[in-house]
Every structure is written in structure tokens, then in C-alpha cells.
């Protein structure tokens, strides 16, 4: 008899805990209804299909919701709703950082804001920890599922926890709760595999604290390239003894973390107080073995300084690294084109864009795309020229004036009218200076010149615009939206 009673008692206790949590959650968990509309990268004068989707967020300060950045990308309209109510309230984006993947959304309606109560961010969760995951399901009824951490991970900027979870795939940002406090936000769920990723408490705090002091600095960027020192031949070559561990620096990107301090051939042995192993990993006190990129990117803010140790010429040198940001605006190949119209030109039927990671798909259809991928992978130093961006002729809108060039696709523009192209606005500038009455586009590694008669350009552009319904033939930074 005793044995039967005990489990019953436990069940009763669990039910009581859930009941305690539910009212708190109902005041903190919100559903975001976001209508977004990006631009078509293959026809950048047009907007994409508008799309309304739901995601979750948690109120962490009065009237302020924390949510994954992907929920608000390219948004046109943000609305929020709360538990047990069908009403949607307007909200607006307060801040977003796609690098760390988080955003803050502000509730405009004072009555709604007053009815909600922020939930505290709790203690970090770690391997094997279990927790509840909440979201507002259909008809805004509170739904509970569970999750368990199976692996700690980092993508550099963020500390991520891989989960086994019973979550549904209904929207990013489902709320993980442990001990009545926020334990993370769930993203990238795959319900058929019962998998998901938890944006960790550490990462949420990192972002929220950064914003709170009114001086948002963001995550520092990478920029230090290294080789592992697993092979004896390399260890000997770089003079690393059996007891020393670390990685050999192979490249430091100018202007980024380590520039002027770390040298190629240095063996980096310590960073921010942590010893590095021969594969470039370190032992985190809570999360175990993590990639060292987290030390440079995820634990501190841009502008912070961290100590480091390296072996140089057989001697230990103490270094100080200034962690530097690397905004997309300063990258040769930006990571993403979001919340803005991509810059483009349609010239003589040629659709001209700047290369972004987004433009290069992982699946390669042509050699042209392979070339572009190569650019994306090593764009910051190769080729070593003054280019700010890689400008690409994406496609040709066929017209009598470009007869013979119809097949041109995804080629890197080297020069226009003899002027080197360092960014897309150079194309527009070069068009002011025709070459003996012609506009001559030259492409990298391709001998075919794209030639248009300068005096016919306006006429051609007008015809192409009409034929293909190109509603605007250019958008460069500074042009009216």
C-alpha cells in the first residue's frame, strides 16, 4: 500500500507546481503575429510574397518582449496577443541584432502592458537539465511541452543548447521555464526528430544587459584563423613541446580582433583566462568543451579587452586582445540583406547586385556560383585589392540590345568603362563616363565584354523596364525608398 501512495503524492506535488507557474506565465508569455515581406533577390525591384506567421516572446521588462530576431526579420506589421484572449495589439520593434539573433519588441497599448508581468531570467541550464516549454497554441491556450539538454554548443556569438524536446514546430521563441524563471528560448525545432535548439540564458542575458545600459555594443566578430596542432609534424615545426597546447594562428583579418597583436605562426595557448587545447577548444565551467570562438565573440562585448597567452619563437608572450565588431556594412560579402531593399541596378538588361551570403546558395548550379561561393568564403583577403564589395552581374533580361549575351549569369564585374568596380555605386558612376560612346562591362575570368551603346542606354532601359515590368531600375544607398 505504501508503495502505491508515494507516486500519487509526487503527482500531486507536480500538479501544484504547474498551477503556480501558469498564472505567472499567462502574464509573461506573448504570441507575436508578424507580417513580413522581404525583397526578391532575383528581381530586387519587387517585394516578395507577404507572409504572416506566429512566434513567441517573453515579457522581460514592463512592456518589452524578448524574442528571436528571425521572428521580426523584414517585418511590416507586428502584433501581439496574450493568453486566453483573441485580441491582437499593435507592437513595434525596439531593437534587433541579427548577429546574436535576438530582438526586443515594445507593446504600444498601455492597458495591455499594465496587465502583463515580466518574468525573470533564471540560472543557466546545462547538460541533462530538464525544463518545461510553453507557448500559446491555437486560440491562445497555454500549451506545455518539455525539453532536455543533450549537448552544449556555440556558434561563436551564442551559447546554444541542443535539445530533445516534445515542442511543436509552431513558431520560434517558445519559452523554456525552470523554477518559475526563463531558462531560454527555443528555436529551430524539428518535431519529427524531437529536436530543437535553446538560446541559452547566458546569451539572453548578454543581449539584454548590453541593451540595458543604453550603449549597445553587440558581439565582437571573428577574424582570427588558426590551424589545429594535432599532428606531430606541425607541433615540431612550430616548436610546440609535448606539454604545450594550443592552435597556430594562420591569419588575422586586418582591422579585426587580434590585428597588430597576434602574428601568423603564433601558438595561441590561452584566451580570457581559459587554456586552449590542440583543436582550439576550451573547457567551460558549466558547459564543458566549447569552441574558442565563444571566448572572442560570445562572452564579451565589442570593444572589450581580454588577456591572452601565446608561444612566439619558443617563448610565452602575454597579450591583450581588443575584441572588435565587424558589422555587415564593413564586410566585402555581407551575411544577410534584411530589413532593407538590396542595392541593385538594371543596366542594359544586366541585373547588377552586390554579393551577399544569401545570394550564394549552398546548392551550386553552375560554375559561376562556385566562383561566387569561393568569393564568399575568402572574400576578406582574396583577392587582396581595394574592393569594398563584390559586384555581380546576376542575370540578363534579354533584349534586342543585348543579343548574344542572354546566357550570362552570376559573373563578377571587374570593370565598367575601364574603371575598377569596388562597390555597386561605382557602376553607376562609371556609366557617366562612356568608353568612346559605349558602356563596356568586363568580367573576372571571362573574356566576353558586355557592350551597350551609351546613347541608347536610356531607351534600352525603358524598353527592358516595360517588357519585364521592372518597376524601378536602380536602388542605391541614398536613393529614395
Amino acid at each position: 500500500m505504501r508503495r502505491a501512495i508515494l507516486p500519487l503524492l509526487f503527482l500531486a506535488a507536480a500538479a501544484a507546481a504547474a498551477d503556480d507557474v501558469a498564472p505567472k506565465l499567462r502574464g509573461a508569455l506573448v504570441k507575436l503575429h508578424v507580417t513580413s515581406q522581404g525583397y526578391k533577390l532575383d528581381a530586387p525591384w519587387d517585394k516578395d510574397q507577404p507572409n504572416t506567421s506566429a512566434g513567441s516572446g517573453v515579457v522581460i521588462q514592463p512592456a518589452v518582449i524578448l524574442t528571436p530576431a528571425s521572428n521580426v526579420a523584414d517585418h511590416i506589421l507586428i502584433e501581439v496577443s496574450v493568453a486566453n484572449s483573441a485580441r491582437k495589439y499593435p507592437a513595434k520593434l525596439k531593437h534587433v541584432d541579427y548577429g546574436i539573433g535576438l530582438a526586443l519588441v515594445e507593446i504600444a497599448d498601455e492597458g495591455l502592458a499594465a496587465s502583463l508581468a515580466p518574468l525573470e531570467v533564471g540560472d543557466p541550464v546545462r547538460l541533462d537539465d530538464e525544463f518545461d516549454v510553453y507557448q500559446l497554441g491555437e486560440e491562445n491556450v497555454l500549451e506545455r511541452s518539455t525539453g532536455r539538454v543533450v549537448r552544449s554548443d556555440t556558434d561563436g556569438a551564442r551559447l546554444l543548447l541542443q535539445l530533445k524536446t516534445t515542442c511543436s514546430d509552431a513558431g520560434n521563441g517558445q519559452l523554456a521555464v525552470r523554477g518559475g524563471k526563463v531558462a531560454g528560448l527555443v528555436v529551430a525545432t524539428n518535431s519529427s526528430k524531437q529536436e530543437g535548439t535553446l538560446l541559452s540564458v547566458e546569451t539572453l542575458r548578454h543581449y539584454v544587459d548590453d541593451f540595458a545600459d543604453g550603449d549597445y555594443r553587440g558581439c565582437p566578430a571573428g577574424g582570427i584563423w588558426f590551424h589545429p596542432l594535432l599532428r606531430d609534424d606541425l607541433r615540431e615545426y612550430y616548436g610546440v613541446g609535448d606539454k604545450d597546447h594550443g592552435v597556430v594562428i594562420s591569419r588575422v583579418i586586418p582591422g579585426r580582433t587580434g590585428d597588430g597583436v597576434l602574428r601568423e605562426g603564433d601558438v595561441l595557448t590561452e584566451a580570457d583566462g581559459y587554456a586552449l587545447d590542440d583543436e582550439g577548444m576550451f573547457l567551460h565551467e558549466t558547459h564543458g568543451r566549447l569552441a574558442a570562438s565563444y571566448l572572442f565573440r560570445g562572452r564579451r562585448y565589442a570593444g572589450d579587452k581580454i588577456p591572452a597567452k601565446a608561444l612566439r619563437g619558443g617563448k610565452v608572450v602575454d597579450l591583450e586582445l581588443t575584441l572588435r565588431a565587424w558589422p555587415d556594412s564593413e564586410r566585402r560579402v555581407p551575411e544577410r540583406v534584411v530589413d532593407r531593399r538590396p542595392e541593385f541596378l538594371v543596366v542594359g538588361g544586366l541585373v547588377v547586385l552586390e554579393l551577399s551570403s544569401e545570394l550564394v546558395g549552398e546548392r551550386l548550379r553552375s560554375l559561376g556560383e562556385l566562383v561566387l561561393r569561393r568569393y564568399r568564403d575568402r572574400a576578406e583577403w582574396d583577392p587582396p585589392d581595394a574592393r569594398k564589395r563584390i559586384v555581380v552581374a546576376d542575370r540578363v533580361l534579354a533584349d534586342p540590345a543585348n543579343k548574344g549575351f542572354e546566357d550570362l549569369s552570376k559573373e563578377v564585374i571587374e570593370s565598367v568603362n575601364g574603371r575598377k568596380i569596388l562597390e555597386i555605386k561605382d557602376v553607376a558612376d562609371a556609366l557617366e563616363h562612356p568608353d568612346r560612346g559605349f558602356h563596356v562591362f568586363r568580367f573576372e575570368g571571362l573574356e566576353n565584354d558586355y557592350v551597350i551603346r551609351a546613347d541608347q542606354l536610356k531607351e534600352i532601359d525603358a524598353r527592358v523596364a516595360q517588357t519585364y515590368k521592372v518597376t524601378r531600375s536602380r536602388y542605391l544607398a541614398g536613393d529614395p525608398e
Binding site: D377, A401, G404, R436, V451
Partner: protein, 485 residues
């Protein structure tokens, strides 16, 4: 009278039947079945060879104890037997000449009795479109000689699959060319008008034959006892369809031609033509804006003119450069690049195993066996930039794979292109091997192309200790094969 009509008809049929019998006898004695055991190189494990393969093909008698067949029938052959349709025995044959660029070969049989009573099959000309031809040979599906009729449906320059890099005139017929047909004659009016050589995987009843111009070119070439191959003009050309481009290049209205994009290194026009030259005519024949020339009422690629010439002959080009038109005599050469983009046959795979790392020169054979996108990219780059004038790299060297061994905590390299050895880019595979032996301080440092590949450092003394063990463990019979060594 009405009764005679059938008689005459019967007689005619009989005459026709007798003629057909004679024709069959002649073909049976002249069209030969070829039995080949071939063993191509394994470019993935180059110290080994794969299982020998058995195949059959066809050949035909062209006089002087010579049989003509396809190059692909006799490529990498380790044993070659031939059999007449009218005799039971198979005799040993050997290859006299092989042209991999045109997929033709000539074989002979040392036993002269083989040719007794054999009648030469005479050559004809280029068959007309819509005319009927007969493909004769020993295709799969039976042991005896087979004749298939088809209609000539297309005559054009098209890729020859055997080398992967060459295109020549080919005749398409609406008869299936099946395995075993290869090398057999295609007949019209009792004369050979082509050699059956390839089919179409995705088409039904589409076959191709090598026509007389290509056959004659091959036979003329080998007359001196040596096959040089087709000369290569080596011009990348662009169409002059675009009016703006024509004006920009200063091509007067009404003038036609193509624009030179590049003259391929190590081919005939290297150093003679440059980007944005315009070619108006070849051997006095005007070149159209789409790069064709009109020959016998047909528009063929202008490079077809060179197809009919041998190495050492000249071709005359009418060239426009800087507003002036002049004639240029181009002495014709073959394409001498060490990485020509052709599949290699009858050549041993080159390789070098050192410290458990397998290095190979980048060849099409290797790419087809173990290639990936990155390698194809580099090969293409090699053509467009690296192989440019003044570039010293004649061949690319690839770290193909690692043979793991306790003495090396290895990292799995896969298809890494060697950038430098001790800071110097290797000119070719031989040069690479030379550099691998030396090295200051008894070490060699190899760096690779790519985003951030780890370098490889080999300590010569240490490698010497375990090299033999690695070779033994992995069954590597020799640590290297390099041509000319």
C-alpha cells in the same frame, strides 16, 4: 504478257538475291569481330589495377594487313583477338596506331594467313542527308555479323565522347549503335562511308558514325608511321551577333566574323592572336557572325577548316586589329598542354606516396574518379588564368588521400591542391617530387590552396623510419610512378 511480268520480277529478285549474297560474303570476309580484354588504370588507388574487363567490338579491312576500328575498342587493351566471320579461329592482334582525339585506331595481325582472300572495303564520301546507310558489325544480342539500316539524319561537328575534350564532324543516323557495333563500317553503295562509334544514352535509335573526312585525316596522319593528332587552333571566340559589340570593336556594317576572346596557351594561335581581334575569314572563306563557314551549302564551325589539315600545315586568317585588316599565316600545332582536359588512355597513372600521403597530378581521369566541385573549379581556373602566358605552373598536384598510420596523428585531407612546397609552387608533378626530397633542415612544408587548410610538414628523417611500414600495411607495391622515370 501478263504471265511474264511475275517471271521477270522473280528473275530480278534472284539477281538481287545473288548480288546480296556476294555482298554478304564480301562483308563477312572483311568485317572482323574484335575481342578485347582491357584494364584501365585506377586513378584512385594508382598502384593497383581494377579487374580486367572483357568486351567485343568490330573492325574492317582497309588493306596492307591493316584493320580499322575505334580507339575506344582498343584503349588500355591487355589482350586483343580478332576473328573473321567466315573462319572459326581467333588470332592475336596488335595496335599499330591509335588516335584518341578522333576515336580511330588501326590494328594488324602478324599471322599473314589471317588476311588471305580478304577484300579491301573501299572508302566512299560523305553521305547525303536522308540517304540510307548500313551499319555492319557485331553488336550485342548475338554472335553473328549484323547489318542495320538507317537514314542519315544530321551532319555536324559534335563532341567525341572517347576523349571528352574533342569535337569533330560526325554523322547522326537513325539506327541504334549498340555496344559491339563500335569500329564497324557504315556502308553505302558498297563503299565505306563511316565508322560506327557512339550512341545516345537518352535517345532511342540514334547512332553516330565517324565520317570520311575524319577517317582520311587519321590515315593521312599515320602515313609517316606516327600519329600526331589534330592540330588545335586554340581560339576561344565570341559571336558578333550584337550590334553594339560590333561597333565597339570597329567592325564595319556588313562585315562578318567572330571576336577573339583568348588564344589558348600551348596551341597554334598562342602569341599570334589577342583579345578583341576580329577574325573575318579562314583560308579565304568568310566567317559568319555565329562562327560558321559555308561549305557545300552547309554552315559548319569555322574551326572545321583546320580539321582537314595536318600538324605542320598552315592556315590563313584574315584578322582585324586596331582598325586594320591583315592576313595571318598560322603554322598548325597540336595542343601541347600537359593538362589538356582529355581523358588519358594507355598511360600509367602517376602518383607518389610519402609519409602516408598520396599525391597525384590533377588529370581528368582523376577528377572523374574522385573529383569534387572544388577540383573542377581549380581545373577551370587553371585553364582561364593559371595556364596563362608567363605562368610557370604546368600541372596541378593534388593531395588525394591520407593513409593513416600510428606515427602520424593525421587530419583527413581530401583533394587538397598543393600551393607551395617550401614556399615554391610546383611547376609540374616531376618538379613537385624533386622538391619533396630536399628541404632545409631535413623538413618539407607543403601548403595548400583553399580557405584555411592546415599545412603539412614532413620530417624526412622521421618519414624514412615508417614509410616502408605504411607502404607494406596498405599494400602499396611501389611508392611512386612518374612518367619518364
Amino acid at each position: 504478257m501478263p504471265t511474264r511480268a511475275p517471271l521477270a520480277f522473280v528473275a530480278l529478285l534472284a539477281v538481287a538475291a545473288r548480288a546480296q549474297d556476294e555482298e554478304m560474303d564480301r562483308l563477312k570476309a572483311a568485317v572482323i569481330q574484335v575481342f578485347v580484354v582491357s584494364q584501365p588504370e585506377d586513378f584512385s588507388l594508382p598502384w593497383q589495377r581494377p579487374q580486367p574487363q572483357r568486351a567485343t567490338g568490330s573492325a574492317f579491312f582497309i588493306g596492307e594487313n591493316m584493320l580499322m576500328t575505334n580507339a575506344h575498342v582498343v584503349s588500355d587493351a591487355k589482350n586483343l583477338l580478332v576473328k573473321r566471320a567466315d573462319r572459326p579461329e581467333r588470332l592475336q592482334a596488335r595496335v599499330l596506331h591509335v588516335g584518341h582525339d578522333c576515336d580511330l585506331a588501326v590494328v594488324t595481325v602478324d599471322d599473314p594467313t589471317f588476311f588471305e582472300g580478304m577484300r579491301v572495303l573501299e572508302f566512299g564520301g560523305l553521305p547525303k542527308l536522308r540517304s540510307t546507310v548500313d551499319a555492319v558489325g557485331y553488336p550485342m544480342g548475338g554472335a553473328r555479323i549484323s547489318i542495320t539500316s538507317g537514314v542519315v539524319s544530321r551532319i555536324e561537328t559534335r563532341p567525341y565522347a572517347h576523349s571528352r575534350a574533342d569535337s569533330h564532324l560526325a554523322v547522326q543516323i537513325d539506327a541504334a549503335i549498340n555496344p559491339g557495333n563500335s569500329g564497324g563500317p557504315v556502308m553505302q553503295d558498297g563503299k565505306v562511308v563511316g565508322v560506327a562509334f557512339q550512341g545516345q544514352v537518352f535517345g532511342q535509335n540514334i547512332g553516330y558514325m565517324i565520317p570520311m573526312p575524319v577517317i582520311r585525316h587519321f590515315l593521312d596522319d599515320v602515313r609517316d608511321g606516327h600519329y600526331d593528332g589534330y592540330p588545335e587552333l586554340g581560339v576561344y571566340d565570341g559571336k558578333l551577333e550584337n550590334d553594339a559589340l560590333r561597333e565597339y570593336l570597329g567592325v564595319p556594317a556588313g562585315a562578318k566574323g567572330v571576336v577573339v576572346l583568348k588564344a589558348t596557351p600551348a596551341a597554334s594561335c598562342e602569341g599570334l592572336l589577342q583579345r578583341n581581334d576580329v577574325l573575318h575569314a579562314i583560308d579565304g572563306i568568310p566567317i559568319e557572325n555565329d562562327g560558321t563557314v559555308k561549305i557545300d551549302g552547309e554552315f559548319l564551325e569555322f574551326t572545321y577548316i583546320v580539321e582537314n589539315k595536318q600538324v605542320g600545315e598552315k592556315v590563313s586568317l584574315s584578322v582585324r586589329r586596331d582598325g586594320k585588316v591583315y592576313d595571318l599565316d598560322v603554322p598548325l600545332k597540336t595542343w601541347a598542354a600537359p593538362m589538356s582536359g582529355r581523358i588519358l588512355y594507355d598511360r600509367r597513372a602517376e602518383y607518389y606516396v610519402d609519409g602516408g600521403y598520396l599525391f597525384v597530378p590533377l588529370t581528368i581521369n582523376y577528377l572523374m574518379r574522385r573529383g569534387n566541385e572544388e577540383l573542377f573549379y581549380y581545373l577551370n581556373q587553371w585553364y582561364s588564368t593559371i595556364a596563362g602566358p608567363g605562368e610557370t605552373r604546368r600541372q596541378l598536384v593534388v593531395l588525394s588521400r591520407v593513409l593513416p598510420h600510428p606515427s602520424t596523428a593525421y587530419r583527413p585531407y581530401n583533394n587538397a591542391i598543393v600551393a607551395t612546397v617550401d614556399g615554391t609552387p610546383p611547376r609540374d608533378f616531376k618538379h613537385f617530387l624533386e622538391m619533396m626530397q630536399g628541404g632545409a633542415g631535413g623538413r618539407v612544408k607543403i601548403e595548400f590552396e583553399g580557405v584555411n587548410p592546415s599545412p603539412l610538414v614532413l620530417d624526412r628523417k622521421r618519414v624514412a623510419q615508417f614509410n616502408q611500414d605504411i607502404l607494406l600495411k596498405y599494400g602499396v607495391t611501389e611508392d611512386r610512378y612518374v612518367e619518364g622515370n
